[in-house]
């Protein structure tokens, strides 16, 4: 009896916490399908009376949501591809290639992790303004092309590669770049997927830097556009919820389809090196 009571409490708490976690997201979806004005009522309606896509149509036809979606996709994809290439090369070298100053540089990089990125933002803005990258996709992409966390993550994983594998290829006369492409990259595949998810989600969800560097409305990413829409359309709850759905759905989809890689990487990244 005691055991069954405990089981009921544990499962009850699990269900309660799941409701708290998911209810705001489900309500967002529900309200986004309501007629304009329907949600501004008391008591707040839980389900749309007559589900409609009118809010989505309004967003894409009038508010330029398609453009913001495209901007987000271009910036997040480019950042992911470039940072993946650079971080993987560096992480692998820090793990497996000998070169002068390797340990010192790596320690310095880890030390730099304590500096919050926002410190760099003011000079970075001036610098990019100087070279004409403010208000361009490149301005939003360039600072994210390499990251200390990504290098660290790859290094942790690459250290588990057997040295014999690389030595054998060297004895066969393969060059370092060929070894990298043909042996190292395939062996690192799981962590590549993990880092790609991290980069994509990080870039997609990023707010402060795109807000600063993309002042022109045509270039806004979804979070920046949503923030400015929400300041203009304070009363249009249904439309704002539809905008939130469009912003959140792609990342939720990426996470749900690849969550095994994501959670594994989260643990690898938080274990002390």
């Amino acid at each position: 009896m005691n055991h069954r009571l405990a089981a009921a409490i544990v499962n009850g708490l699990l269900i309660g916490l799941a409701i708290l976690s998911l209810a705001p997201l489900l309500w967002m979806l529900s309200v986004s399908l309501m007629q304009p004005g329907e949600a501004s009522a008391f008591p707040p309606p839980l389900w749309p009376k007559a589900p409609t896509l009118a809010n989505y149509r309004e967003l894409f036809e009038r508010a330029g949501m398609g453009r913001y979606l495209l901007n987000s996709f271009v910036i997040a994809s480019a950042t992911t591809l470039l940072s993946l290439l650079f971080n993987v090369m560096a992480g692998y070298a820090f793990a497996k290639l000998q070169f002068a100053g390797r340990e010192k540089i790596f320690a310095a990089l880890l030390g730099a992790l304590v500096i919050p990125g926002q410190v760099a933002m003011m000079p970075l803005f001036l610098m990019l303004k100087q070279i004409g990258l403010v208000n361009t996709y490149a301005g939003a992409i360039v600072p994210g092309m390499a990251g200390i966390f990504g290098i660290f993550l790859i290094r942790q994983y690459a250290r588990t590669l057997p040295d014999e594998l690389l030595e054998a290829a060297r004895i066969d006369g393969a060059g370092e770049f060929r070894i990298f492409w043909q042996i190292v990259l395939p062996a690192l595949k799981p962590i590549l997927v993990t880092l790609a998810i991290f980069s994509f989600l990080g870039s997609w969800n990023d707010f402060m830097w795109p807000l600063i560097v993309l002042t022109d409305g045509h270039l806004h990413t979804l979070p920046v556009a949503l923030a400015s829409l929400s300041r203009e359309h304070v009363q249009d709850n249904e439309m704002m919820m539809a905008g939130s759905v469009v912003t959140v759905l792609p990342v939720l989809f990426v996470f749900l389809s690849l969550q095994r890689y994501y959670l594994q990487g989260l643990l690898l990244g938080s274990v002390k090196g």
Binding site: N11, L14, V31, S40, P123, M127, L226, S230
Partner: protein
Amino acid sequence: MNGSGRLAGWMFVAPALLVIAVFFVLPVLAALALSVTDFDIYALADRRNLRFVGLGNYLALLANPLFWKALGNTLYFVVIGVPLSIAVSLAAALLLHSRLGRFKPFFRTAFFAPVVTTVVAVAVIWRYLFHTRYGLVNWALSGIGFDPIDWLGDPHWAMPTIILFAVWKNFGYNMIIFLSGLQSIPEDLYEAARIDGASAWRQFRHVTLPMLGPVLLLVGILTMAGYFQLFAEPYVMTQGGPLESTVSVLYLMYEQGFKWWNLGTASAVAFMLFVLMAGITSGLLWFARRRGAE
């Protein structure tokens, strides 16, 4: 390793190091320089208007009530938000770890879902959930006899609402780390405690918590660093108001730097935040090491 191998090592790290040097290290150093100038909108137009002001920006900030207000708000958010987040994360991890729970993969995914969502988008949802007249929260409270609360419009409630939001959004992340920490505690420790007749609470207090010690420290430091960087939530939910009760340090930095173009002042704000974060982090590490040494 041969000479070509050494060269290869450098060639592999060069692109990433170059990016980090040019777009991070250099700007950080430049920010230090910027923070001792009066860089403002006139200097933005013409660099000849730029003057060296020494510690002027820092001293002006220390004399500025809004800076203290922002610092106080941020500390309020960190001091309440971090322990609350960690407690909820740990509770969720214990529930998921319990042998009595069912459908665990589903619950784990459900708890984690808010973590991957976009802050701005879910902040928009919360603004509506906590709407004074039409919000679900006030409706639920009215059901148990409470008067409506002006969550985001009352200076006393705005920050607590943002803290609740941050806990909801973030607890899943630390939960995963705690869960793996719990799974690595050897079962025979609990076995031994049970044989000694220890209650569930005492097992938690004397086995679980000490074994999680290093994980707790790591999670505490990472969460704190994240929470000091509060920005998007007040930007979307309250725009710093009401009565500046949700202006955070970074919100102040953003307004100074990119609304008023006082980039010198903004850099000084950023450095003060950095020094504060570094100070508190090393304090925590020192405290942990001392306790560990005892």
